[in-house]
Assembly symmetry: C2
């Protein structure tokens, strides 16, 4: 659920692909270390070792860099963990969300803050989440196949209910990370689902 490209996730490609990978890795690092306010095309160019003229021509400005960083995640090969149970899958997802939001520096926290600075940034982040929640639909599909959930469950509502307490506590309420929260939030969502919540009426 994090926009930091994991090592090796950008497939080997031509020179253009390598340039993009270097520039986006520099955007991640700059954002995480110095925040959105300090993000500049020049700093990204210097860090990436790509000529600034190339960066300006291809990405234009900070908004272009951030949008491409987020849009690049929709082409990565991230998939939610398959642990064998609905509760385990949701807990694993929540642990990933909590780790991304609390690591220091956190690219995830930086792109969320940036989403409050421009509508372009907000749209790009929402596209990323849309894609991530859609990919997490497989968690619900597997649970339906195993008979853990009825077939008419609203996958997105269940996934949002399971993950929302993490985002609310860590991003908005600013609560110190609670190592038990990922599991407890997953468990609550499973209990609600088992009792008939999230079922399309």
């Amino acid at each position: 659920m994090s926009p930091a490209p994991p090592p090796g996730s950008v497939r080997p490609g031509g020179r253009t692909a390598r340039t993009r990978a270097r520039v986006l890795a520099a955007v991640s690092a700059e954002l995480a270390e110095n925040g959105y306010d300090a993000l500049t095309v020049d700093a990204v160019a210097a860090r990436s070792g790509v000529h600034r003229t190339t960066v300006y021509r291809r990405w234009r400005d900070v908004g272009g860099l951030l949008t491409d960083l987020l849009d690049a995640t929709t082409a990565d090969d991230w998939q939610p963990a398959d642990t064998g149970s609905l509760r385990g899958d949701l807990a694993a997802l929540n642990r990933e969300v909590q780790a991304a939001l609390t690591e220091r520096p956190s690219v995830a926290a930086a792109v969320i803050a940036a989403s409050f600075r421009s509508a372009e940034n907000a749209r790009a982040l929402r596209r990323m989440w849309q894609d991530r929640y859609a990919r997490c639909g497989v968690i619900v599909d597997r649970a339906v196949e195993r008979g853990e959930l009825p077939p008419d469950v609203d996958a997105r509502a269940l996934l949002v209910a399971a993950t929302a307490p993490l985002y609310h506590e860590l991003v908005l309420l600013g609560t110190p990370p609670d190592p038990g929260l990922p599991d407890r939030a997953a468990e609550s969502a499973v209990l609600a689902a088992s009792a008939g919540a999230f079922t399309r009426s």
Copy 2:
């Protein structure tokens, strides 16, 4: 759950209290209409009709104005609605949260955005939420008295689980408001609680 002072909520007081009420009403209105970036001490002074020297002396800067707006909510008389059932109380709370986040202009949305601009703003907003969630504890107390919940339920965990999907969808994911979500999120939290979630082990 909104920092906009409801009409009549500032108790009549001396000249100092009336000045503060006028200034904070102007901060709300400026924030909601023009956003944090356009908020200035001069604009607040002009709108409130309070002399700018007074505003600068008492509130110093934009951070001081926003902090006082949020801190003032901890002295208001807001209480969650008492509908006679846990589900009804949580649904009423969620409808209030959704209304505050989706009204246009929205002071609530503006102060959340501002919390990503300075640590001082973030701390003030978190104090407000801390106070609001503590006041909502009465919802859980009443449910325990009615026998709807066991006495060892974690009130804050339940209240966060009930409200978090609203904040996540509306503030972070940017989903268009769903008129059914306040009730469904309340219902899911009640189902989870009835199945034993949020119980301190």
